[in-house]
């Protein structure tokens, strides 16, 4: 039996991150392109710089006036917690969670710790640390 065959593809130059505006337009124009129910845009239309694995840490206890969601986030983030985990525990769509966290960052109620992302020149010591971490599992 012979397996089906594939044809390799080349990297696209430049690799464009889809702009929210374009994604929105396409989403409406072409069926088959999903559109988020919640979107977040800054002044320039760019998405907030929050990643699934941005770590969020509370800077203070919930203020008495805090909404239940805000109070819950601040309680959960006594220890660092990723945006993805917050979305999971609070059962909020990731994009809605992003909106909420952006507000909390602006209000200086939480601190965000930026993720490590893939670099053009990879960080070998990082990869070595990850390898050692995996071996300890």
């Amino acid at each position: 039996m012979t397996p089906p065959r594939r044809k390799r593809r080349r990297p696209q130059q430049p690799a464009p991150p889809p702009s929210p505006a374009a994604a929105r337009t396409e989403g409406e124009a072409k069926p088959g392109n999903p559109e988020r129910l919640y979107t977040i845009a800054g002044a320039d239309g760019a998405r907030a710089e929050l990643d699934l694995v941005t770590l969020i840490v509370a800077r203070s206890a919930p203020p008495p006036t805090a909404s239940p969601e805000v109070a819950a986030v601040l309680r959960l983030c006594v220890a660092p917690l990723s945006l993805a985990e917050l979305s999971a525990y609070l059962q909020l769509p990731f994009s809605a969670m992003t909106v909420l966290i952006t507000e909390l960052i602006t209000a200086e109620l939480v601190q965000a710790r930026a993720p490590i992302v893939r670099q053009a020149v990879p960080d070998r010591s990082l990869l070595e640390a990850v390898m050692h971490g995996l071996q300890r599992l």
Partner: protein, 206 residues
Amino acid sequence: MDFNGSDAIPGPRTEDHLPHTAEAAAKIVIVGGFGVGKTTMVGSVSEIRPLTTEETMTQAGIGVDDDYGSDSKTATTVAMDFGRIGITDKLVLYLFGTPGQERFWFLWNGLFEGALGAVVLVDTRRLAVSFDVMGRLEERGVPFVVAVNSFPDAPRYPIEELRTALDLGPEIPIIECDVRRRASSKDVLTTLVRFLHSLALSGTLA
């Protein structure tokens, strides 16, 4: 601060709290077709109970999913399972199991753009399902390894025959695995990270 009181929101167990020293997190994406074992793999290596993050889509996104007898045509929510591995006091690794269709990927900011790399999980009974995913990763310059999840009734091909069929360069690791086993899933991840490290040494990572 403490967790006592009227906290109705389920949160991490105390033993699952990250240390306060955790400075940054990195992510690896496990991608593959429906039912290929992504969630199983996440669960077998994660140090926390696997969690699910969801994204809600408008109607425009509905209707072209795999049709394995599911109700995907009427679904409005895309779910992604993920797990976590503590690497050091300062570094955390997250694993995301994500649907193979690229049109879902942008629902989560930077899912692939920021990922260290990806594992393409394949089932030799439905090899062609993974073709598009690999092409998309190549186009985006996301380094990946191929893990063949060994289902008992699946056809077995020699690795080199698979390499030819998948049109993969000799440098890209292809490994067989049983994602139900932690040791096997760990091997897959280690293979990916070792591959990334080799790319770093040769300076070829795009």
